[in-house]
């Protein structure tokens, strides 16, 4: 039995091919490689990803069956981490799914919040709301705050900024998201834009 990295990659090459093309093709069960009926990852599709902790850029493979994440582990073909992950990276599976200590069942991580919420002024609890309510509420507040504080000119120079709104964060997002957030914030005239690079 030869357990090289290559061997593993060949075994799953088809699955990778599937994951590469996922945006083009519908997710196809046929692309998954059945190995052994008892095998935990039997009939899973595999998608490559990059770790969400330090900036090492370690590759990971997310195995999915029937739309649910079955396993996350290092990508053995990734030249930086060669399949290895630190404790945080190795726990990425648990961001979504955990084994319930009480029942042994695999459940969605109950600590995660998956519904928009609002905490009203003076309230002691959160209130679950719809996305529409959340977006409408925020957009209204943004506009009101911006319009009330907007500075168009300062000493004859067109400055077009508001000092009253700040936006923090971005190192957790993908670059495309960073750009969209940046573009939105800057276009609103926001100066106070910062991210984790500042700490």
């Amino acid at each position: 039995m030869q357990l090289t990295r290559r061997g593993f990659f060949q075994a799953t090459a088809l699955a990778f091919a599937g994951s590469m093309a996922f945006e083009l093709s519908s997710q196809s069960e046929a692309l998954a490689v059945p190995v052994d009926a008892e095998w935990k990852l039997v009939n899973t599709e595999e998608y490559t990803n990059i770790c969400c902790y330090c900036s090492g850029g370690c590759g990971s493979i997310v195995s999915v069956r029937d739309g649910e994440v079955i396993n996350v582990e290092g990508d053995p073909d990734h030249p930086i981490n060669e399949g290895c992950l630190c404790p945080k990276g190795a726990a990425m599976f648990q961001l979504r799914n955990v084994v319930d200590d009480a029942t042994g069942e695999i459940i969605h991580n109950p600590e995660r919040k998956t519904t928009p919420m609002v905490r009203r002024p003076g309230a002691t609890e959160w209130e679950e709301i719809s996305w529409e309510e959340a977006i409408e509420g925020i957009a209204r507040k943004v506009k009101d705050t911006r319009d009330a504080t907007f500075v168009e000119k300062e000493k004859g120079v067109t400055v077009n900024y508001t000092p009253a709104i700040g936006s923090l964060g971005g190192s957790q997002q993908n670059s495309e998201e960073e750009y969209l957030i940046l573009k939105m914030m800057r276009s609103l005239g926001i100066v106070a834009i910062d991210n984790q690079a500042r700490v």
Partner: protein
């Protein structure tokens, strides 16, 4: 000499990040405490402090003086199933739940077969096996939990989860002989660097273990027994079963013979005449025997 596969743990490369502990949990879907703040602080980086029913693998920490002005000898160790060739747990296991995987030499288990007797716990010279469930007096439903060597992964072309995840290459997986050679070579390098206590652990112990260690510092700094032994009683108990089988057959045979010799046995009905101290055949009325009380007969 052991054969098959081995996990090599090179303590001199281990960064004690515990990635292996976590990868083991995630691959094997082992739970962790979820009730708020239930874990106590034990004043050490070694968490949990020992193997427990949820935990098959821990990294151990030990601090010792290095005799220099700065720094210490900080030993990182690995504590998990050693996958012994002479595996006491397998010998002790009555249900065949624990077994040697022939191809790899890993000591794995079939959880469905575990009857929760915990004989493996007392047999293991490394104090490794733990059980999920079955706490309390009646101990119902306890199921073995220990490192399986991830033979599911091995059979499907991957290394064990702990090995796969190890960033510094402290954990390696391969043929036993090859891993031993790597370990020995590493010990030479360490000795050349001045780590005089560097040694291979697992080559000779209990028939050769399928987890080999390269130790950087003296053995006392690791939670490994100096001379792990399989208790002779474990072997003796295994001899007892055939003895019982043979004994039982012999006994039944003997008794059967005895029975046959007794078939057709009859004895006349007797009665006792306490006045004359005579035992009398009821049918014939004949005195069969006289108890001579005066002569001291009872």
């Amino acid at each position: 000499m052991a054969e098959g596969k081995a996990i090599l743990y090179d303590a001199s490369r281990c960064s004690a990040c515990k990635g292996c502990q976590v990868a083991c949990k995630c691959w094997n879907l082992l739970p962790s405490p979820m009730e708020k703040n239930t874990q106590a602080w034990n004043g050490s980086m070694q968490c949990p402090p020992d193997l427990d029913h949820r935990t098959r693998l821990i990294i151990t920490f030990d601090e010792a003086d290095n005799g220099k002005k700065y720094g210490i000898n900080w030993a990182f160790g690995r504590r998990a199933c050693m996958h012994c060739t002479d595996a006491a747990c397998v010998m002790a296991c009555p249900s065949g739940c624990l077994y040697h995987d022939e191809e790899t030499g890993m000591v794995s288990f079939d959880r469905d077969k575990c009857i929760g007797c915990k004989y493996c716990v007392s047999a293991c010279p490394f104090d490794v096996p733990r059980h999920i469930g079955g706490n309390g007096l009646f101990d119902a439903g306890a199921k073995i939990n220990k490192c399986t060597g991830c033979i599911d992964r091995i059979k499907n072309g991957r290394s064990p989860a702990c090995v796969t995840t190890c960033q510094p290459g402290a954990l390696q997986f391969g043929d036993w002989e090859e891993m031993l050679a790597v370990a020995k070579e590493r010990v030479e390098v360490l000795k050349a660097k001045g780590f005089e206590s560097a040694q291979v652990y697992g080559e000779e112990q209990v028939g050769g273990t399928h987890v080999l260690h390269v130790l950087k510092y003296p053995l006392e700094q690791y939670e490994l027994p100096e001379n792990p032994q399989v208790s002779p009683l474990i072997g003796a108990m295994n001899w007892m079963k055939p003895i019982l089988g043979v004994g039982a057959i012999a006994l039944v045979g003997g008794l059967g013979l005895s029975f046959l010799t007794g078939v057709g046995y009859k004895r006349p009905e007797m009665r006792y005449d306490e006045a004359n101290h005579d035992i009398i055949n009821v049918e014939t009325g004949e005195v069969v025997r006289h108890i001579d009380k005066e002569a001291g007969e009872r």
